[in-house]
Symmetry: D2
Subunit: 352 residues, 4 copies
């Protein structure tokens, strides 16, 4: 639980206003030619300050690989990397040293550790997901045949009504909001702008689709494919829920409606199973949905308390997302890539 | 991923029609006086054949502890246990040796391993949850101060509309369906009976409430409390979704609505956070909901295919649940207990 | 550290006078046909009461496999097994409840856990190695091409002077003492009989030779082949030292003497490296030696203390080895097999 | 096996001529005030170029901590650190790209990975121990009450005859060779100089003594204190053997000689057990000895082969140790500190 992954593993470090983020990826097989640009591209997709919708923190978020790669290829030994924090303004946070922000981790970290790096949330900052995107984008290169595509499927009450099969997921990045349906994207964008103007924030959901995953991936009891994905996604800071296949709707259905009947080629006529049976992929599309709460930092006054329980008024300053889901799209995608690459590696050892 | 837990761990084995289930629990601290009856009581709650709603397989499901306990107290060494399968009828399954049942793990196990114990699903059977209930019920005794209560919050389209705060959760077992609201319980029961008469099955949801969990529990990055709970729950065979606190509803809300404002005593006025901030408990109630799909075995004919892709007609025989959620209540509760006991142990090492 | 192995893992339980020993082996690949007789044969080799030299405890030490094997072949799922204790005489140990035996684990267990199963040493008994032999003998079947042979290379001051290359290791079991050189075996046997008559015990060493191990096995930094072997061997109860290749003698040599010069076919002219360079096998024989202390239970009076520090006199009763090394031979062999099978499995993932 | 430690863990990366070494230390409890100078002091003790006896590579070996420490105190979150390589001369190694050095890891890495960073041994370089010293020196600060002292107890055939109890271990660093007995130190130093002049190298042993370790440390079956120490030490690049307490000598003794008889205060009259019984510390001194082979790089011509098996002549260049043990002293000490700090943390969870 202190690292991520089972055989392919990621250990990380970093705080929002420390010197650097970074990590170590272990057990990447030797001989993989790394596409560094593809990795940086994913970090750029996650980077703040790309649009009017997201936080304006100025960082290049450039990843540097320090080991495990020789003449462009992996050597099989640990891959160390780091990403410097360039826009550290710890002084901006001095006023928070003795204050607990609502629905942040300030109070809980202090309860747990008796000490807290209050600068921008310290270790609790979502900047940590930089590490995950870097590692996931590298892991993705181990499984080039698998296609993993996430997109924003709702913002507040605005849902993308079309099922993923009717969307062109290659167009996700065409809109700032990262919804591949242009009409819905426009409505979502307008909603976020409205909310932002109020100094408020709003939640949303991301749907992720995995195509071309071979059958047989996932471990049957404690490492079910859906459980490994759920664990990964629920570790993203603002995630509040996870469902796959029929999800919560499936709980309303009958078995006669829900069962996926086989075709003679072992595909299934429906896919309410979400491509997973008994914790193991069956070769159909795997798809899941993650719910994200609204960002807790508001650009308007909120009541809170200080360490002594005395009332204070807080107001966030100018660099926060009004809606987290667009930037969470590459996080979901690359984290899923890491989970799948790990499970696919392990699966190679399953038969004698 | 092959065992469960991080410091307090559970390794298990067993197949539906093998000789026994069993497991090893490691790192239970020494000196705990074990209440064996309380453990067997939880197994009895999970046992099939208790009511007209669930499978009639006749098993005593008696757990025997083989080590790690001396004169009634834990010694700190591994606790081995087993639970014999008494109602093995492997011949009942011979006809399934070359057939894949819809929405079961038959096809995926065979894809993964090239071999499959077809008797009652083998390792993929939900009988494995016996092990989890036994281990969880023991782990629960490590954290007697924490109260963990699960109940059926929906069956098909019938929802328990009252929030958990308005229910008397001590009455959950008063109805076969395990919904603590008598009126809703009656409606749910009628619905399951109707569905069962049709040879059909139906899904549902379980809500679980954790009270008296101290602040500070959960690890901040890869072992967030919600992620550990999600992973555990999504490993239950029929689980399709997990949400905590505001969950998927939270994704529709604004930050101004969603933020939990502090009281001077550091409780919060609302609890949309579900008792967790930054992956760490804050001392408020932790609550979550799990969606379960309908049981895939139907007591009426269904089309399927055999190993050669040829069409066959399958019909389940007389011992299957029409609705899995009542029996899943003790699974959710005891699995949650294991997760919490593990995290609470680890938390003792958090400060110098 | 609570289980054994890295991908192929063994978790165990059991106490000397509890109901049973047992364990769970995880991640054995599917499709291996198990030779059950070969496993029981290794347990029989370890069994007490086989000769005049070793303890007379009467146990059949029969292993029963409970899961993970279907129609004689592994299914890829966890393999549970147990071995019943048949000769439990806990009353024999009542007098030890408040006494600490010299050079046993009585005092340390009580210091650690505050409670102790005093019956025959409880968890600290070397009967635990039953589990290791069973699991190792199964793991051996995953790597049939590798030959692992251990033998007694010294008893007290009597050494087998011939190097392993000049011994016929297939003859190890021809003598009770398990030294393949008949002349040395006779001298060792006489020495043990002499020591036994005095109610005393004596130490010894075991040498183990691994042939046909392919090059490339072992992990370069924290999982060096020699470190994994050392860890395994030093977990055997009476082990006091481990060396491989040139071992402690190598510390007296110069580099010019010690370096193994390559032949054109990449074998080496000498093999002071013991078949391992940089933690990774090079295709030459791997050989190592383990030192075992004399058994601490003496069949003659010894002074000791009780829980209050008061002097007591202890005298072991009639069922203890005068020399542990003959019975440790199958322990060393099968434990080494487990380590190697684990590392060879992992190594399959080393290249892309 | 890919990281070091069980609860307190160290993951590392780095190659001899890559950009940096570094690592992540996890689960250091919050609230520890770090003495940075003490850590750097240990790195300085290990640094090459300190005396005429060791390699002259010019590096400052300065460790930089990047996270997990706030205002001088640990926060409980991962501690990332790095150590830059400043004296990279990869061109010096171009001639080794197609050549295998005798008794180095060149051949085995290539067999394992199919690719090899040939610059100074890449990942197989003992420069990796920098990471271990940094982490161990930090871990040491978690257990200030425990005294861990290593010293050179032999070089080639020259042994320090006095037992550790008769040496003043605070004087170890007084001589370049790190033997606390001045007379023996002088003889050792002369021997190394003689060997060096010949372009040759020589092996040696290090003895390590742990005082004030409380009783109860170590896990009873797979994590015995001696096994954890053995594993750690045998992962040091040149280590060939490990023994503790009576060690290999104990294998020549009888039980009557070897048993440590208790005093009324539970200390023992002798300490052949080396402070460990049943894998758990008993409160007496823990002591062990590690054998190191001679450095394989010689400053004189040696025959070897290239990748095609063709003969080549190799000659090391001017920056290699003639005897590795003086620089290995801080490695042994700090690695032991890490092992002990890890086990002492875990031990806090042993009782209810």
């Amino acid at each position: 639980m202190f690292s991520f992954g089972n055989f392919l593993t990621l250990s990380t470090f970093g705080e929002s206003h420390g010197e650097a983020y970074g990590g170590i990826i272990q057990n990447v097989p030797a001989g993989l030619t790394i596409d560094f640009k593809a990795i940086q591209h994913q970090l750029n997709r996650r980077r703040p300050g790309q649009s009017s919708l997201v936080t304006q923190r100025k960082e290049s978020d450039t990843v540097t690989f320090l080991s495990g790669i020789f003449e462009g290829r992996t050597t099989g030994t640990p891959i160390g990397f780091h990403i410097r924090n360039e826009d550290q303004k710890p002084k901006d946070y001095q006023h928070l040293a003795d204050t607990y922000r609502p629905s942040h981790a300030d109070f809980t970290y202090e309860q747990k550790y008796g000490i807290r790096d209050y600068r921008g949330g310290g270790r609790s900052s979502a900047r940590e997901t930089l590490n995950w995107v870097a590692a996931g984008a590298l892991a993705k290169q181990l499984i080039p045949e698998v296609q993993i595509q996430a997109y924003v499927s709702s913002v507040g009450e605005i849902f993308c009504e079309k099922p993923y099969q009717k969307l062109d997921l290659s167009k996700t990045d065409d809109s700032e909001i990262r919804c591949p349906d242009p009409h819905t994207a426009a409505r979502m964008t307008a909603e976020v702008k409205r909310i932002k103007k109020e100094g408020n924030t709003i939640g949303g959901t991301i749907t992720c689709v995995v195509r071309n995953l071979p059958a047989g991936i996932g471990e049957p009891v404690f490492g079910k494919l859906q459980a490994e994905l759920a664990k990964a996604m629920m570790n993203i800071n603002a995630a509040k829920g996870f469902e796959y296949g029929s999800g919560f709707c499936g709980a309303k259905m009958t078995g006669a409606e829900h069962n996926d009947i086989f075709n003679p080629d072992f595909t299934t006529k429906t896919n309410l199973s979400g491509g997973i049976q008994g914790g193991i992929s069956n070769g159909m599309d795997v798809y899941f949905r993650v719910a994200f709460k609204p960002v807790a930092t508001l650009l308007r006054p909120q009541p809170s308390v200080d360490r002594d329980g005395q009332p204070v008024t807080l107001e966030g300053r100018g660099r926060h997302d009004a809606c987290v889901v667009p930037r969470a799209v590459p996080i979901v995608e690359n984290l899923a890539a890491f989970v799948l690459a790990d499970l696919m590696l392990i699966n190679k050892l399953r038969t004698f």
